[in-house]
């Protein structure tokens, strides 16, 4: 006989929340990628190098806190907040389990849900919605006297020791964001928020599913859901890797774009410049591929085309014509020499010399012959002493005259040479030109061929003057143009240098981008593969939740996949109606959309890496069919195996389903009286549920004795054990300082009622709790032993049965009272 209700297998709880993080292999993700990189064929070495360079380091800390950091809710308090006026606290039972907070519309239950979300996350999904403005104005309770500071507060149970930590958010202003948050440890000491709650994990696992998100998840938040999943799956490294590669791509593209803009700007600028360099640069820039080499050469003044003209201009600018002063001097000297030479003609000098020689010969003849007769003309006595003296003087005069003439001739030729020397030949670079300057210069050069002193002097004088004038003109003009060029060129040259740097960078960037793109192409399937691999359990879970919720729906949820790239991805739902695929949003009813939202929310919020041991779901029951509500109850039950699941609902159907399905749950009822006075009472809890069933059965006179003997003690036992569990969880947490994990480990080891009682009363299941039981409930131990052995006194009549239930109720009550509870539950506990 199956005495103990057999654990039905719950695939939802197939994952062990304390198992090593499913994403614990993040550490190996990097190595995995490196290995893939090494074995990747078809990747250029540069691409591989780039990937290696970009591969991020391991992130420490992972995606969430350790399971030791588990956070659970002890209570939610609100005052002056939304529908809640005077301070009201919603106490929650310790440990995992389902809590249904029921209440009619406007009773303030959603205010509690929002209070919890606001206190912990500091924001509220309604603030960000479309009607956020209205909402932001109406957060404050209308029935709050001015003196009361609005506040929301949650008492948490944090960490390995289950420390009570209070998070209180108070409003000092009238705006919704004018809040102050205070985090207090058990000793009243201020604590740091970050030490208590991992904000990143909060964002990732998001244990809150507010009503506003139930319907909008499909069309609204699939993108952010994708990113959350991505990080949840420990794929941040991949995301970052991809982002880095993408950044390189973008960066490179920017560099290239910058170059292109610069090019366009430069081209525009260059077209307005009349400069050979500008033309040259424009040409170099306008090709399909800018010619960097040409620009570089241009900047270093090495370009042949542009330089030729500039060199010419520079030559013109540096042009030196004849030295006019020197020329004038030389010409004057030439003229003088010529004049002197004309006076003493060369011919007369020769005559004088000849005559002198003749006279000298006559004188010699007279001296030798001692005769005064002229041997030439024969006249007698003419060559006397007086003649001789005259002739001698004449000889001397003639000789002097000849020397003078000789000197003058010499002087002229010197002067001519001097003038010739001044005449420069046509400069090499000017030859072949047909400009006026070249002609003048030619004229000037030809002066060299002129030997006649006067003609030379005249021509040189004329040519020099003309050439000098021409040279000056050409020089001035060239210098002017050069200056003009350089003035306009200088800034352009600077730009061009700038451009050159940009172009060089762009060239490198283009190469890098090519590799980055290749790398991304390579990375994409790997990301997809890893993502799919890691998402699979989540997808399965989603499908399971969906199946449970929508067993009878014609809509089936196939695969749940992540598509797109990190940052721009989305969750893709393979939804089909009667085996035809369809977009989720269009074919689903509101109830189905809610179910889908839950299907996506639950796997994320119950991820093993999440430090949050609780879920807060606001009104998931609305617009669900009866069978969906049953499915929901089952799903919530499965989640509640290892988590606090707090569900707010105004619908009684969830309660009913829970009762019919025999799901253990605590039902709290929120009622609101006038002036926003809100009260919370416990309607039922697992102990009450079991007792109520036992009581109902015990009162049935038609129940045969052997059925009663078999059934009633078992039912009573369930009630006692439920009481023990609740008490044990509270005691271990509050008195022994055990964290959730430690508590649940001990709870899981319980098998017999005795051990349940011992754990509840003594905090240790292995001890004997007899004395402790007798102290709080005389005669209770006998009952416990009977539960243990199955040897009960027979229950022939209704009275015996009622007595058993009453004794059980008393024992359960006594056990719970030791844990500081039960007084509030006296409504139906004691009989």
């Amino acid at each position: 006989m199956a005495e103990q209700p057999p654990e039905s297998s719950h695939p939802l709880t197939a994952h062990d929340p304390y198992a090593p993080d499913a994403s614990g292999s993040v550490g190996s993700l990097r190595e995995l990628l490196l290995a893939r990189l090494d074995s990747a064929s078809g990747l250029a070495p540069e691409t591989r190098e780039l990937l290696r360079e970009l591969l991020p380091d391991e992130q420490t800390g992972g995606s969430g806190g350790s399971p030791e950091g588990t956070v659970q809710l002890r209570s939610i308090t609100a005052a002056g907040w939304r529908g809640i006026g005077p301070r009201t606290t919603l106490e929650l039972p310790p440990g995992p389990g389902l809590v249904i907070v029921a209440g009619p519309n406007g009773s303030g239950k959603s205010s509690f849900a929002e209070a919890a979300e606001t206190a912990i996350t500091g924001r509220n999904s309604r603030w960000e919605g479309r009607r956020a403005r209205d909402w932001q104005g109406g957060w404050r309770n209308l029935h709050t006297p001015d003196g009361v500071t609005p506040e929301v507060c949650v008492e948490l149970s944090v960490g390995e020791r289950g420390e009570p930590v209070t998070v209180r958010r108070t409003w000092y202003g009238t705006k919704v964001d004018e809040t102050r948050t205070q985090v207090m440890g058990p000793d009243g000491a201020e604590r740091k928020w970050e030490e208590v709650i991992d904000a990143k994990a909060l964002d990732l696992a998001r244990p809150f599913l507010p009503y506003s998100e139930l319907g909008s998840m499909i069309n609204g938040t699939l993108g952010s859901l994708h990113d959350a999943f991505f990080r949840l799956l420990g794929l941040e490294l991949l995301a970052e890797f991809d982002a880095r590669v993408k950044d390189v791509d973008t960066e490179c593209s920017q560099t290239i774009k910058q170059r292109d803009t610069l090019t366009a700007k430069l081209l525009d600028e260059l077209s307005g410049l009349d400069d050979p360099r500008a033309r040259e640069a424009a040409q170099a820039l306008s090709g399909t591929k800018p010619d960097l080499g040409r620009i570089r050469a241009l900047l270093e003044s090495r370009t042949p085309a542009a330089e030729a003209e500039l060199a010419r201009l520079r030559q013109y600018a540096g042009l030196t014509g004849p030295d006019l002063r020197e020329t004038a001097g030389a010409v004057a000297r030439l003229r003088d020499a010529a004049a002197t030479a004309e006076e003493a003609r060369y011919g007369s000098a020769e005559d004088a010399r000849r005559l002198a020689r003749l006279l000298e010969a006559a004188l010699e003849h007279r001296r030798r012959s001692r005769s005064a007769h002229c041997p030439v003309c024969g006249s007698e006595d003419r060559l006397d002493r007086a003649w001789s003296e005259r002739a001698r003087a004449e000889v001397e005069r003639l000789q002097a005259q000849a020397a003078d003439a000789e000197a003058a001739r010499q002087a002229v030729s010197v002067a001519v040479r001097a003038v010739h020397d001044l005449v420069q030949p046509v400069p090499v670079w000017l030859r072949g030109e047909t400009s006026g300057l070249a002609a003048l210069w030619q004229e000037w050069a030809w002066c060299r061929d002129v030997t006649h002193p006067r003609e030379l002097a005249d021509r040189v004088e004329r040519a020099a003057a003309a050439l000098d004038e021409a040279c000056r003109q050409v020089r001035d003009e060239a210098a002017g143009r050069l200056a003009e060029y350089d003035d306009a060129w200088q800034p352009t040259a600077v730009r061009l240098a700038e451009w050159l740097a940009a172009a060089q960078a762009a060239e490198a960037a283009a190469e890098r981008r090519r590799h980055a793109r290749k790398a991304r192409t390579w990375l994409r399937p790997i990301i997809d593969e890893l993502r799919e691999e890691r998402l699979r359990p989540f997808a399965h879970q989603s499908q399971e939740v969906w199946q449970r919720l929508c067993e009878h729906s014609s809509v089936t949820l196939g695969s749940v996949t992540l598509a797109g790239t990190p940052g721009r991805g989305r969750v893709v739902l393979d939804v089909s109606v009667d085996d035809r695929s369809a977009p989720a949003y269009s074919v689903m009813s509101q109830g189905e959309l809610h179910s889908l939202a839950l299907s996506l929310f639950l796997p994320r919020a119950t991820h093993p890496a999440s430090p949050f041991g609780f879920l807060v779901i606001d009104d998931p029951v609305q617009s669900m069919d009866p069978d969906k509500v049953e499915g929901l109850a089952r799903v919530l039950d499965a989640c509640a195996r290892d988590r606090q699941v707090i569900v707010f609902t105004h619908d009684t159907r969830l309660q009913q389903a829970v009762a019919h399905l025999g799901i253990q749950a605590t039902v709290l009822r929120v009622t609101r009286q006038s002036n926003s006075v809100v009260s919370v009472e416990t309607l039922t809890d697992p102990v009450e549920q079991a007792l109520a069933e036992a009581r109902a059965v015990s009162l049935d006179p038609g129940l045969p004795q052997d059925v009663a003997d078999h059934v009633l003690p078992a039912m009573c036992r369930v009630a006692v054990e439920a009481a023990c569990l609740e008490t044990a969880r509270r005691r271990l947490r509050d008195e022994h300082g055990f964290g959730l994990r430690a508590v649940e480990e001990r709870v899981a080891s319980l098998d017999r009622t005795k051990t349940y009682v011992a754990l509840a009363l003594l905090g240790d299941g292995r001890q004997n709790a007899r004395d402790a039981v007798e102290r709080i409930c005389p005669g209770g131990w006998r009952l416990v032993e009977a539960f243990n052995s199955g040897a009960h006194a027979p229950l022939p009549g209704v009275d015996d049965r009622k007595r058993l239930v009453a004794r059980t109720a008393a024992l359960a009550q006594a056990i719970r009272r030791t844990g500081g509870i039960g007084a509030a539950d006296s409504t139906g506990g004691a009989r």
Partner: protein
Amino acid sequence: MTASAQALVSAADRLLNPSGAVASLAPGLRARAAAVLLRMALDQALDAYWARVHPSMTRIGKHRMLCLEWYAGRDTARRCRTTWLALSAACHYRAQELPPAPAEIHARLVEVTALVAALHAGPGTAP
């Protein structure tokens, strides 16, 4: 008895997947009729089950199903109770309420078939 439970289930099945004259009835009506038949089938199966456990078992349905947990196992018992209640709600004619959806009743039919089989397997058999 169980044979008749199965007969009731097949009759319900014919109502849900009609052919011929039955098809002229409105689907909601047929679904409700099927719900009645299914509830009867479940009752029959439970009767047969309890008859084997104890000939004079109480006639109060709720108590029977609460007790069932300790004989047929928690899962079967809870499913019986949920299904029975759901069928019960579906087969009551209330002017203000919508008739049950054929799809829902069909799902209940599958469930009832399984439960009838489980109960037929006999008392003391774990589900």
